[in-house]
């Protein structure tokens, strides 16, 4: 279960604090329920995901995680460019306390990422698709109760997208997902409930179809 209570968030800019991105967002995500975040560009979807993932902190309000939540997968963060894919993967395994079966996990990551010899090259030489593959493979190597995905299924080429979707489908059997995606099909495929972000506030819908409908209605008006 994840509780988001009256969360406010704004970013520091060069000329003082910026506008509020989130103003008073509250909802509770029950265990084992997959949720899609919907909203126009800049509505605060990624911000909310980062707050839920604990990468960033809200200015006001609180977020409680009563389960194992993954780091937000799918954006460029979390990989150091000067180190190789393998070294980055080792680091992530170690901070998750998986020293004992490090070799197995590395093998699993390498197998899923399918980036070949590049696994032993510095990450800064990777294309964005290769980076996405590595990140996705990394987060799959650990058992979380909730996976946070920021457009991760739209990264990479068609073959990888298919593979990622299949892996996601497997995930939903044992864990839940909180995802941002602009693909309506993806959202409908994986999510049961939906959260519509608009004007810094969040509206909860028990069915993702209703959330999509509300979002579309707001864009037409």
């Amino acid at each position: 279960m994840i509780v988001v209570d009256d969360v406010h968030k704004r970013y520091r800019t060069n000329h003082g604090p910026g506008d509020w991105v989130l103003r008073g967002v509250s909802f509770t995500i029950p265990a084992r329920l997959s949720v899609g975040l919907i909203g126009h560009n800049g509505a605060g979807k990624s911000t909310l995901l980062r707050l839920i993932g604990g990468v960033d902190q809200p200015n006001r309000g609180r977020i409680e995680r009563h389960c194992r939540v993954s780091w937000p997968m799918g954006f460029g963060g979390g990989l150091q460019g000067s180190l190789t894919g393998r070294q980055n993967a080792k680091f992530v395994c170690r901070i998750h306390g998986c020293d004992a079966n490090l070799a197995e996990r590395l093998e699993a990551v390498q197998r899923f990422a399918e980036i070949g010899k590049a696994f032993d090259e510095p990450v800064r030489t990777y294309s964005s698709g290769m980076k996405a593959r590595l990140q996705f493979a990394l987060s799959l190597a650990f058992e979380f109760d909730v996976y946070i995905s920021d457009e991760v299924t739209s990264a990479g080429d068609a073959a990888f997208r298919k593979k990622a979707a299949a892996a996601f489908q497997d995930l939903t059997e044992r864990a839940s997902i909180i995802m941002v995606s602009h693909g309506e099909g993806t959202l409908k495929q994986f999510c049961t409930a939906g959260i519509w972000l608009n004007d810094g506030r969040a509206t909860w819908f028990d069915r993702i179809d209703d959330a999509l409908a509300a979002y579309k209605a707001s864009r037409e008006s």
Binding site: R12, G77, G78, R94
Partner: protein, 257 residues
């Protein structure tokens, strides 16, 4: 117990990662890491022993310089490296179990290990060249070096938070570091400075650390009479605790964007 185990796992992962990037990021980086202080000491040694004097304050110039430089580097490299830890590791805060303070502590520890290795190499070299390299009071020497390291760590803990909250402070700290080399008595004996100026210089805890190290190495060294290891440790511990408190207080601010 599991909280401690987690922290240790994170420290270990960070340490290996930092060591890796420190040693192998550039071509021959590990060589320069060791060669740089050796060349620095050798260069000054030639100038001092050939041009100037064979003994300072009643001790071998080579050992006097070597201890002063290594002690000073221990402080300065710990301070500057660990201070920049937050900036260099910003990408890692994606994993919420990695706290800013972890990166500072780990960098400080790595620097201490590096300096210890370099110092041992230098002492071995000096020994081969016929200098007396056995300290009279090894434990006191260790205590002086640990004090200098703690001072560097404390500085880094405070400075890393301060420069994150007020970026201008980062620049001022860099400027303040520059003359420290001269006023800490690394290359000239502080005992030769007349009063009242010596008292001013001795407000600097690093100067106490260097003199204490030299006195521990040779019992008959003419150290400054005002020497106080207690002062060094007081400054070091206060700054370490103040720094840790700052990290605790601003833990969320440091990862906020």
């Amino acid at each position: 117990m599991s909280a401690i185990r987690n922290t240790v796992a994170i420290w270990k992962a960070l340490f290996l990662r930092e060591a890796l990037s420190r040693f192998f990021l550039e071509r021959g980086a590990w060589l320069w890491l060791i060669a740089e202080p050796i060349v620095h000491v050798a260069y000054l040694l030639v100038i001092y022993t050939v041009v100037r004097a064979h003994s300072i304050g009643g001790v071998d110039t080579a050992m006097w310089l070597l201890l002063g430089l290594q002690g000073f580097f221990l402080f300065r490299r710990t301070a500057t490296q660990a201070m920049n830890a937050l900036e260099a590791n910003a990408a890692l805060f994606t994993y919420r179990q990695v706290k800013p303070v972890d990166t500072v502590l780990v960098r400080g520890f790595l620097e201490a290990m590096l300096l210890a290795v370099v110092t041992l190499i230098l002492l071995a070299g000096a020994g081969l060249l016929g200098h007396d390299v056995t300290p009279d009071r090894p434990l006191a020497l260790l205590a002086a070096f640990i004090g200098l390291w703690l001072m560097g760590l404390g500085f880094a803990l405070v400075a890393s938070v301060a420069s994150e909250l007020v970026p201008e402070l980062g620049r001022i700290q860099k400027i303040a570091m520059m003359p420290l080399y001269l006023v800490s008595g690394v290359v000239f004996p502080l005992a030769a400075v007349p009063q009242p100026y010596r008292d001013w210089l001795l407000y600097n805890p690093v100067a106490h650390g260097l003199e204490a190290a030299r006195l521990a190495f040779t019992d008959h060294y003419h150290a400054v009479p005002e020497l106080s290891t207690d002062y060094l440790y007081a400054c070091a511990l206060v700054s370490v605790f103040f720094g840790l408190a700052l990290h605790r207080r601003f833990a969320t601010r440091l990862v906020m964007q």
